[in-house]
């Protein structure tokens, strides 16, 4: 065959593959988002309807009345536990990562091995003991009961990622700052931390996603007051088909921030996974 024809065929084949990949990736999510804006009478119609007048009635139902109270509370709980876990994790992990990457204390290598090692621990191993401990403290069904395990699980990954980012910064910069009269801490705060901002962003994203998406801890450790969005979504009884519209609405509320984040800070995510996973 003519080489130019082969090249053209190849081009179409690649195009087809890419389109298939996009469809397979996006369709399940697009479909549930679409369901959330369908009028109740056609949300679960058969055959499925692709064209309709969009409505926000399911969002309205969720946000009003008793259902709305539960969802509103879950939304606030999700944001609070995610936000606080993120901040506490960074406050704990950054100093540790700085120490391990720059100050190289004796025994540091063993600590790094320990940090990588605990990442192998399946979170579900911690659920039963933490459940008993929190019960005896009387803090089950509080945001604290969720923030504690989220911080514990995020610190190893966050420390590991930040070590990578700190190692990539030129050492001369902070030395220059210190010779100019800054102390270690001041140099860290004014020179290192601003330079490591992309790393901080990537690290916060991963910490945040862990908390925002978690079901393993939030399902058993919360009942009423501290429930988060994944718990609400997993509890909705939908076999009858009545609630699919509202379920779509909850799912959409959970997906949209993540999709926006993905596109705005895509480079940080890629960098984060590359440093957090590829390097070990």
């Amino acid at each position: 065959m003519n080489p130019s024809v082969v090249r053209l065929l190849e081009k179409y084949l690649i195009g087809l593959c890419v389109i298939a990949v996009i469809l397979f990736t996006v369709f399940p999510l697009a479909w549930i988002i679409l369901t959330s804006v369908k009028p109740a009478n056609i949300a679960v119609s058969y055959p499925p309807r692709f064209f309709f007048t969009p409505t926000l009635e399911h969002y309205g139902l969720l946000l009003s009345g008793s259902g709305g109270e539960v969802l509103g509370k879950a939304f606030i709980n999700s944001i609070l536990t995610t936000g606080i876990s993120m901040i506490v994790t960074l406050l704990v992990a950054c100093p540790a990562a700085y120490s391990l990457s720059r100050l190289k204390p004796a025994g540091g290598a063993a600590i790094v091995v320990f940090i990588i090692g605990v990442r192998m621990l399946p979170p579900i191993v911690l659920v039963v003991p933490l459940f008993r401990i929190f019960q005896s403290w009387g803090i089950t069904d509080t945001q604290t009961a969720l923030i504690i395990p989220y911080v514990g699980l995020s610190v190893p990954l966050a420390t590991w990622m930040m070590i990578g980012f700190f190692l990539n910064l030129p050492k001369e910069l902070e030395e220059a700052a210190m010779i100019d009269g800054c102390g270690r801490i001041k140099a860290f705060w004014h020179v290192i931390l601003p330079l490591a901002a992309p790393g901080l962003a990537a690290t916060s994203i991963f910490t945040g996603l862990l908390a925002w998406n978690d079901l393993v801890f939030s399902l058993p450790l919360t009942t009423v007051d501290a429930v988060t969005l994944p718990v609400i979504a997993s509890r909705m009884r939908v076999e009858e088909g009545v609630l699919w519209g509202q379920l779509g609405a909850v799912s959409t509320i959970m997906i949209i921030p993540v999709i926006l984040l993905t596109f705005f800070v895509q480079r940080h995510i890629v960098q984060g996974i590359a440093s957090g996973a590829v390097k070990g």
């Binding site: 690649i14 195009g15 593959c17 990949v21 996009i22 397979f24 990736t25 996006v26 399940p28 999510l29 479909w31 549930i32 679960v44 058969y46 055959p47 704990v92 540790a96 700085y98 120490s99 100050l103 204390p105 600590i111 605990v118 192998m120 621990l121 399946p122 191993v125 911690l126 039963v128 003991p129 933490l130 459940f131 008993r132 514990g152 030395e175 210190m178 009269g181 996603l209 998406n213 079901l215 393993v216 399902l219 994944p230 979504a233 997993s234 939908v238 088909g241 699919w244 799912s251 959970m254 997906i255 993540v258 999709i259 984040l261 993905t262 895509q266 995510i269 996974i273 590359a274 590829v278």
Partner: protein, 309 residues
């Protein structure tokens, strides 16, 4: 003179201070590590030890009076109970199949996205979305698609004249759940493999092309050996995380129907929070941890051999 000596003295002391700080032979490095070590110790290590302790006790919240030390009694009970044994084997099978599919699909996808085409950057970002969203949402989205009466999948196969299936019924539930798992986590492999493909030197590919190597030969003999360590790493991570799978199974089937999708993660949750048998739940989670460690160690050995050759 007095003024001059005054200006000299602080300078000398500050220089000394700078040197001391630079040599960092003080306690600062250790102080900075304290919060992280306390967090890891209290939140990960102490509960782990407590879990091991629980696994050696009969510990049922419904019968608190009978909480006694039973040695390896719980472990014996677990390996003699066909339900737990089959959940363990199911988990291993589930992991093997999904991880293999993720690695094959993920690598192919990485090779595809590594080609230049318009909108490449956008597509690379788009394919990341499934791995970043909640497993609960992934499970729910697919449950809507799998729905027997008004699901999209039955509608689509109906267009080709096929009769509707009960996708989450006893026969098809396991493969249906596996597809969701593969859909959600293939992007992770793709992302890592894309990073790996960047490390393949362009000159090497060009020179092999000059030598007349076909596309497949170039992949098999040039690219593949170079990316094998990264492929193994993706394999380690996906294996580690799939063995503990919980949320998608919980949302899609809850482990049913008739335990046909009862992976160990769901089994642990059920033992603890439906039967309140914390002793058995702790035992099952220690077994999960042991399996995870064993498989990871095997991979690590492979990785090291790979690094040596």
């Amino acid at each position: 003179m007095i003024i001059a000596s005054r200006t000299v003295v602080p300078k000398a002391s500050s220089r000394r201070r700078t040197r001391r700080l630079l040599s960092s032979d003080n306690s600062l490095p250790y102080l900075l590590l304290v919060p992280a070590l306390i967090a890891l110790g209290c939140i990960l290590v102490v509960p782990l030890i407590y879990n091991i302790w629980l696994s050696f006790h009969e510990y049922n919240l419904l019968r608190p009076a009978r909480n006694t030390f039973v040695g390896f009694g719980n472990y014996l009970k677990v390996i003699q109970d066909p339900a737990h044994v089959s959940s363990l084997f199911l988990t291993v099978r589930f992991t093997a199949i999904t991880v293999l599919a993720e690695v094959i699909l993920g690598t192919s996808l990485a090779l595809l996205l590594n080609l230049p085409f318009p909108g490449n950057h956008f597509v690379r970002t788009l394919v990341l979305v499934p791995m970043l969203i909640s497993e609960v949402v992934a499970g729910l989205s697919w449950r809507l698609i799998y729905h027997t009466e008004f699901g999209l999948l039955n509608y689509l196969i109906g267009l080709f004249g096929l009769s509707p299936q009960v996708w989450l019924g006893p026969d098809l539930a396991l493969p249906s759940v596996m597809i969701v798992e593969i859909w959600q986590h293939t992007p992770f492999v793709t992302l890592i493999m894309l990073a790996g493909l960047q490390t393949v030197p362009r000159e090497l590919l060009e020179s092999s092309m000059m030598d007349g190597a076909s596309r497949w030969q170039r992949f098999r003999y040039v690219v593949l050996p170079l990316i094998t360590p990264i492929l193994l790493l993706a394999l380690v991570f996906r294996t580690m995380f799939t063995l503990r799978v919980f949320a998608p199974v919980w949302v899609l089937t809850g482990g049913g129907p008739a335990d046909s999708t009862l992976v160990i993660g769901v089994d642990i949750y059920r033992a603890a929070f439906r039967y309140y048998n914390l002793g058995i739940a702790a035992t099952l989670s220690i077994i999960l941890l042991a399996v995870t460690l064993a498989i990871t160690l095997v991979y690590m050995r492979l990785l090291r051999r790979e690094a040596l050759t």
